[in-house]
């Protein structure tokens, strides 16, 4: 059993505090993804869990042990690094078995576990090669194999896919997910890519500037973002965010258009708000995701159309801002074309303009 529990964890470099008291509990066998823009403290947090960075304040527990003062080797963790960090002078087999050898395992046990890991990751053919003779994807698999042979309590991944090209990244994402289904272990995974976070995580932790902004399942953070930052960060293309003022129970946009607010929105007359809606909630009539939803019709001019095959992203303007809509089952659209858009009123997000916090 290995839960990981962070309590008020702080990281300071001299006077500069970059992680400000993070609380987080990761359950046994849970796959948790820390996501956020670069410099948000997610990698630092992971490295503190690994023991590669000192903890300036608070406690980190793995299982029922406080690990604050333990060196990495005593924490029974494995880590996959962004740059793979293979041992360049060792063959794949030696790379995989190195941790076991250091732990004093017998030859037979090492061979058994290395072969097992190689089988899981499809590395059988490559065991006698040196890392320099492997492709990026193969190196990444060796790095993962090195992590799994040790049967650790916790897997730590530090942006493991960001050095790979887009296609390989997609493949490896699936492999990591399969791996977790097969080798049930607690995983903490750091990425700046919200797609990786959405596809891999049991729960997502969204971080910004050393704070946790929201913790939730992928659907929670997608459907109920707690503030404009999370709303803009999760989802691709990102959520449209438009300033508005509450006028007679409606949101009045800069160009005078009035959008009815959801009944549960906690707003008062005259309050400056930010109205949020995802591109998939803003589609030409007859091309929307939820055809039965309450909708507001808006006639807009298309500025740019980006056909992606199964859908077309349409760029237009609303409330004086550029917004994106998504046309499902698309037909060809040319720039300058006037289309009748429907805005899904059941899926509107309302945020306080000053604090950015959700008002639903």
């Amino acid at each position: 059993m290995a839960e990981v529990r962070l309590e008020k964890v702080v990281k300071r470099y001299g006077k500069l505090e970059i992680v400000h008291g993070i609380d987080l509990a990761v359950a046994h066998n849970e796959f948790v993804v820390l996501v956020g823009p670069s410099g948000c403290g997610k990698s630092t947090t992971l490295r503190m869990i690994a023991g590669l960075e000192e903890i300036s304040g608070g406690t980190i527990r793995i299982g029922d042990r406080v690990v604050n003062e333990l060196p990495p080797r005593s924490r029974n963790i494995s880590m996959v690094f962004q740059s793979y960090a293979l041992y360049p002078h060792m063959s794949v087999r030696e790379n995989l078995g190195f941790g076991l050898k250091i732990a004093g395992q017998g030859e037979d046990e090492i061979k058994k576990r290395v072969d097992e890991a190689a089988e899981i990751l499809g590395l059988g053919e490559l065991l006698d090669r040196l890392p320099q003779h492997l492709s990026g994807g193969q190196r990444q698999r060796v790095a993962m194999g090195r992590a799994i042979v040790r049967h650790p309590d916790v897997f730590l991944f530090d942006e493991p896919l960001s050095n790979l090209d887009a296609k390989l990244r997609g493949q490896m994402r699936v492999e990591i997910k399969k791996l977790h289904q097969r080798v049930k272990t607690t995983v903490i995974y750091v990425t700046h890519d919200q797609v990786e976070a959405m596809t891999l995580a049991d729960r997502i932790v969204i971080m910004r500037d050393g704070h946790v902004e929201q913790v939730g399942t992928p659907s929670e953070v997608f459907e109920r973002p707690v503030n404009t930052f999370v709303a803009g960060f999760i989802g691709s293309p990102p959520m449209n965010l438009i300033e508005a003022v509450v006028t007679t129970g409606k949101a009045r946009l800069a160009d005078g258009i009035e959008v009815p607010l959801p009944p549960d929105a906690r707003v008062s007359e005259g309050l400056p708000i930010v109205l949020g809606f995802r591109p998939e909630s803003f589609a030409p009539r007859g091309h929307s995701l939820h055809a039965d939803a309450r909708a507001l019709s808006l006639s807009r001019t298309v500025v740019i159309a980006e056909p992606l095959g199964t859908e077309t992203i349409l760029f237009t303007t609303l409330g004086g801002k550029d917004v994106q809509g998504k046309m499902l089952a698309p037909r060809p659209v040319s720039p300058g074309e006037q289309l009748e858009f429907t805005l899904d009123l059941d899926r509107l997000h309302v945020f306080d303009h000053a604090s950015g916090v959700t008002l639903r």
């Binding site: 963790i77 793979y84 190195f98 250091i102 320099q132």
Partner: protein
């Protein structure tokens, strides 16, 4: 003269000054000295320069015990000095690599011994280890460790040690600098991976840091083996090959043969044996370097 005006003559014309200089400075002396090693050339009898005797000098060398002692002593000197400098230099580099404040200053200070002329280092150590007025003996006296002066430079077994000490003092920083460069170029991730993989600090050093450093070690070894193989100045000052030839190295023997005994032909033959040895050392270390580097790359 027409050829000189052709476009394809331009590169040769432009290279001509360099070629002339190289011919004059390198090739001619090389050919002449190589020729003299096949003659009984004696500085006092110029005519002997043109008397070809084939391999006679080399044959005599092979049967000459003094030469072989000097040869063996030089190899031993290289082996001991290089290994000591390697170990000490590695230790220094590891320590300095840990320093976060004032590292640049320390690096500069570390290089001071390299900046002195070897002759001066020789004089300095000769003075330090002088049996009557030397600092070392005086200190040992005052501390009550010895009652009789130790004849550092006169005793047959202490003299070579003293010279090695001076050599190590002067040149350890060469190793330290080169290995420090290696340490600074060391990628961070494999070391962190090893820590996570269960290594204690010694195991990280043994399995990750040291293999990474080996190419740098061999580069330093190559450079230094060439340096030490032609050790002359310091030995000349400190003991001049004595006592009773116990510190006679190849180059002190060579100079004695060439200039004191005027047997330049013989001295040049020794020179060529010594150069051949240096080439063998270089080749050996270079092979080691290439094979150590073959493993590198592919960490990222």
């Amino acid at each position: 003269m027409n050829f000189l005006r052709l476009p394809r003559a331009t590169p040769y014309l432009l290279l001509l000054p360099a070629i002339v200089v190289i011919l004059g400075v390198v090739l001619v002396p090389l050919v002449v000295s190589f020729w003299t090693s096949f003659t009984p050339y004696n500085l006092t009898k110029p005519a002997t320069l043109f008397q070809f005797v084939g391999l006679r000098n080399y044959e005599r060398l092979l049967g000459n015990a003094d030469f072989w002692w000097a040869f063996g002593r030089t190899i031993l000197f290289i082996t001991i000095a290089l290994n000591l400098e390697m170990v000490l230099g590695l230790g220094l580099a590891l320590l300095i690599n840990k320093v976060t404040w004032g590292q640049r200053t320390l690096r500069t200070i570390m290089m001071f011994p390299m900046m002195f002329s070897p002759i001066l280092v020789g004089f300095q150590f000769k003075y330090l280890f002088n049996d009557a007025v030397g600092l070392v003996n005086n200190a040992l006296f005052d501390l009550g460790i010895i009652q009789q002066p130790i004849p550092w430079l006169v005793d047959g077994s202490l003299a070579p040690l003293t010279i090695i000490l001076a050599e190590v003092w002067m040149s350890t920083s060469v190793f330290a600098i080169l290995l420090l460069a290696g340490l600074m170029a060391l990628p961070k991730e494999p070391i962190e991976a090893a820590k996570v993989d269960g290594c204690n600090p010694w195991q990280v050093f043994r399995h990750i840091t040291l293999p990474f450093l080996m190419p740098f070690v061999y580069i330093a070894m190559t450079i230094r083996s060439l340096d030490v193989a032609r050790a002359y100045d310091m030995v000349r000052i400190m003991t001049n090959g004595g006592p009773a030839g116990r510190t006679e190295l190849l180059w002190t023997l060579m100079t004695r043969t060439g200039y004191n005994n005027s047997q330049m032909g013989m001295a040049n033959a020794m020179g060529y044996v010594s150069i051949l040895t240096s080439i063998l050392f270089t080749y050996y270390f270079y092979r080691k370097l290439v094979s150590a580097r073959a493993f590198m790359g592919g960490a990222q």
